[in-house]
Every structure is written in structure tokens, then in C-alpha cells.
């Protein structure tokens, strides 16, 4: 019983919860995550559309951008932008650095997923649409993209969740997100409760999206015969 109450006191201390609850709830995860999701997927979609014009130098640039941002760890990019840019005269606040890096990473992955979706639409769809008099952009917008985007929903959802979870990386450059508030509170209070609160806050934020991702995956699944 002694050990149990000590455990509660260390990890679920009510006084500490009460004291640090407002600070941890103030963590700006939701705002940054929403900004990342919107700008990242939109930029990815735009890049995938640009790629359908098949301008060789343009496409080479897109592929290099996409590959680099898929291969580099986000934390490397965050540190590079956060410590590198001020030295050449560009000063960005830390939340902007986090948003910029994560949006670019998501854009790279999203472009690849949208592009795979566009490629999976049979050529006959393009030809049939063009033969009805639709132009190239009309075909893309009304015939190809609606089918392609449907295919991209499950992989895109999972990837978006994985990348928005990286908002926790903001703690390294001092963005006041949940984890940052939690570690600060933990060192002030000398108690592990704030860490537990931070972890629980993240789980509460992301469990619904993970479950949603699972549902979407089965709804839009492509079944092998």
C-alpha cells in the first residue's frame, strides 16, 4: 500500500496536476498541427499537379525536393533552419521554424502519395475525358483527381498523423508546446506528474485521429482478390 501511494504521489499528484494543468493545456500543439496539415497537403497537391505537366527540369526539381525531405530526419531540418538561418540574417520565431519544416516534410510525402494516386488512374480515363472535349486541366480536375484522391485517403491520413506528431520536436527549439511545458513543470516541481500529464494530453489529442485513420483504411481499402 505504501509503494502504491508513493507511485500515485509521484505520477498522479493532484496538487501538481492542479498547479500545472493550465500551462500544459496552453501548449500550442493544435494550432501548429492544423497549420502543418493544411499547408503541407495543399503544397503536396500543387506539386503533384505541376508534375502532371511533365516539364522535365521542373519534375527533376520536384523529385529532388521530395526525396530529400523524405530521407532527412525532421529534427535535423529543424536544427538546421533554427540555428542556421539567423547567421545569414533571416530570423524566424521558433514556432514558425517548426511549422515551416513540418509543412515541407508533409508536402514531400503528400506529393509522392498524390502522384502515385494520379499514376494509378488508367490512361483510358484521360483519353475518354479528352475525347468528350474537356481540356487537360478539366480532365485533371473533374475526372482524374476525384478518383486519385479517393485512393490516397488511407496512406495520406496515416502519414499526416505521423508527421503532425512531430510537433513534439518543437520542445528542442523552445516552442511552448505540451512536451515543453511538461518538462519545464517537471523540473520545477521535482515530480513526474507533469510528464504523465503531457503524455496523456498527446494521447487524448491523437487517439481519435489514429482510430479515424484505422476506420478510413478499412473503408477505402483496396482488396486483393
Amino acid at each position: 500500500m505504501e509503494a502504491w501511494s508513493r507511485f500515485l504521489d509521484t505520477f498522479f499528484n493532484l496538487d501538481v496536476i492542479e498547479r500545472y494543468f493550465p500551462a500544459i493545456m496552453k501548449g500550442v500543439v493544435v494550432t501548429i498541427a492544423a497549420a502543418v496539415v493544411v499547408t503541407g497537403t495543399l503544397l503536396g497537391l500543387v506539386l503533384a499537379i505541376v508534375r502532371t505537366f511533365r516539364l522535365i527540369p521542373m519534375n527533376a526539381l520536384i523529385v529532388v525536393f521530395v526525396d530529400m525531405f523524405r530521407a532527412l530526419p525532421p529534427l535535423v531540418l529543424v536544427l538546421l533552419v533554427y540555428f542556421g538561418l539567423p547567421n545569414i540574417g533571416i530570423n524566424l520565431p521558433s514556432f514558425a521554424v517548426l511549422w515551416l519544416v513540418l509543412a515541407l516534410v508533409l508536402a514531400a510525402f503528400a506529393e509522392e502519395i498524390f502522384w502515385a494516386g494520379i499514376l494509378s488512374i488508367p490512361k483510358g480515363q484521360w483519353e475518354a475525358a479528352r475525347s468528350t472535349g474537356l481540356g487537360f486541366l478539366g480532365t485533371l480536375a473533374y475526372v482524374v483527381l476525384p478518383q486519385a484522391i479517393r485512393l490516397t485517403v488511407p496512406p495520406l491520413t496515416n502519414r499526416t498523423i505521423a508527421i503532425t506528431k512531430n510537433t513534439a520536436l518543437g520542445t528542442v527549439i523552445g516552442v511552448g508546446e505540451i512536451l515543453n511545458q511538461a518538462t519545464t513543470a517537471q523540473s520545477f516541481s521535482g515530480n513526474a506528474t507533469p510528464l504523465m500529464m503531457g503524455a496523456i494530453a498527446y494521447v487524448i489529442l491523437f487517439i481519435p485521429v489514429v482510430v479515424l485513420g484505422r476506420v478510413l483504411e478499412t473503408r477505402f481499402a483496396w482488396r486483393r482478390v
Partner: protein, 221 residues
């Protein structure tokens, strides 16, 4: 332009930082060698549990997988590294990293294996069982080989994510590639060491990323 080269591509500084960064690379590889097999094994166990006939086992596996997919790996790592000492356990950075990454990557690999096993038709199970193979033999010799082939691009792609994930071990002061590069940066006030580390990550991972793109196209076709 001059300033950018000075700040990001300073060869003299890169050369001085190289020994430190190479020792960091060794640690990164060590983490990968430790975590990838652990994650693959843990993921397989999760997948088998999540397809079990026992409802409790199934639910436990799915709940565990979703929980560890919802919690950011950095939060998990800091919780283990900074939280466990309050419970009287003092994990070394490497132990904390191994535990956190094992939990995180197992859940991701588990989902991939599960999708793979589900993609193998029921007929394969029935046919294998009817030849006298036992359940575990059917799984090992008939279903898993086909399942792994079906989800190979996802398995490779997740392995790339694990390698990238090792960079967050720097936050608990494990002297891996990014940590060493950041040390060099803070001593020299110059970002070139991080550019060098980024180049090393690119050399390691770019070929695999290209390969994944091609594998995915082939499966989609």
C-alpha cells in the same frame, strides 16, 4: 552567397568536426542494429496477437498498437528517460532509447504485418491446414512469406522511418550522429557540421527512398 557558403558549407569546419561526427555515426548504426530487429520481432508478435481468436488478446493488441501510434516517440522517450527515475529506475540513454523505440516501432511494424497477413486469402490457410500443416507451420511457411512480399514496400519504408527516428535520441544526450553534429555546431557557431550530418543521412537513406518509390509503383501497377 559568400555568407551562405561560410555558414553552411565551410569545409574547414566540416573537416575538424568529421571525427566527432563519425563516432556519432557509429552510435546511430548501433541503435539501428539494436532497434530494427527488436521492432520487427515485436511487430510480428503484435500482429499475431491482433489476429488471435481470443477476443481479449485481439483487443489488447489493437489498444496497445493504437496507444503507441498516438503518442509521439519523443514524448515516450522523455517520459521513460526523465520519468522512470522517479520510480527508482535509472535507465541509461541507450536503454531508454531502446525501450521507447521498441514500443513505438513494434506498433508500426505490427500494423504493417497485420495488413500483410490479412491480404493473404483464407484459402491459403485452409489448403495448408488440409495438407496436415499445423497452425504455426501454416503461418511460418505459407502465410508469412506471401504476407511479407505483399507489404515489402511498407516494411522498407518504415525501416527508413526508424533510421530517421534515431535522430531524436540526441534529446536524451545519446551521442549519436545528430547529437555530435549539434555539439560541433555549438562549439564552432557554424551550421556546417549539421549540413555534414544531413549529407550522411542522405547518403544512407536516399537510395532506399528511391527504391521504395519504385517498389510502390510496381505494386500499384
Amino acid at each position: 552567397m559568400e555568407a551562405i557558403i561560410q555558414q553552411f558549407f565551410n569545409l574547414a569546419i566540416m573537416e575538424r568536426a568529421l571525427p566527432l561526427i563519425l563516432s556519432g555515426l557509429k552510435q546511430t548504426i548501433l541503435i539501428c542494429v539494436l532497434v530494427i530487429p527488436l521492432g520487427l520481432a515485436g511487430g510480428l508478435a503484435c500482429a499475431i496477437l491482433s489476429l488471435s481468436r481470443l477476443r481479449i488478446a485481439r483487443w489488447a493488441a489493437v489498444a496497445g498498437i493504437d496507444f503507441f501510434r498516438a503518442i509521439p516517440p519523443l514524448v515516450l522517450l522523455i517520459f521513460i528517460y526523465a520519468g522512470l527515475p522517479f520510480a527508482g529506475l535509472r535507465p541509461s540513454p541507450m536503454t531508454a532509447v531502446a525501450i521507447a523505440f521498441f514500443l513505438n516501432t513494434s506498433s508500426y511494424y505490427g500494423e504493417i504485418y497485420r495488413a500483410g497477413i490479412e491480404s493473404v486469402g483464407q484459402g491459403q490457410w485452409d489448403a495448408a491446414r488440409s495438407t496436415g500443416l499445423r497452425g504455426y507451420q501454416t503461418l511460418a511457411y505459407i502465410v508469412l512469406p506471401q504476407a511479407v512480399r505483399n507489404v515489402l514496400p511498407d516494411l522498407v519504408s518504415n525501416t527508413v522511418e526508424v533510421v530517421k527516428l534515431t535522430s531524436i535520441a540526441s534529446v536524451v544526450a545519446l551521442p549519436e550522429l545528430l547529437y555530435s553534429a549539434d555539439m560541433a555546431r555549438s562549439v564552432t557557431f557554424n551550421s556546417s557540421p549539421i549540413v555534414l550530418a544531413a549529407a550522411i543521412y542522405l547518403v544512407m537513406l536516399w537510395p532506399i527512398v528511391r527504391l521504395i518509390s519504385r517498389l510502390e509503383r510496381r505494386v500499384a501497377a
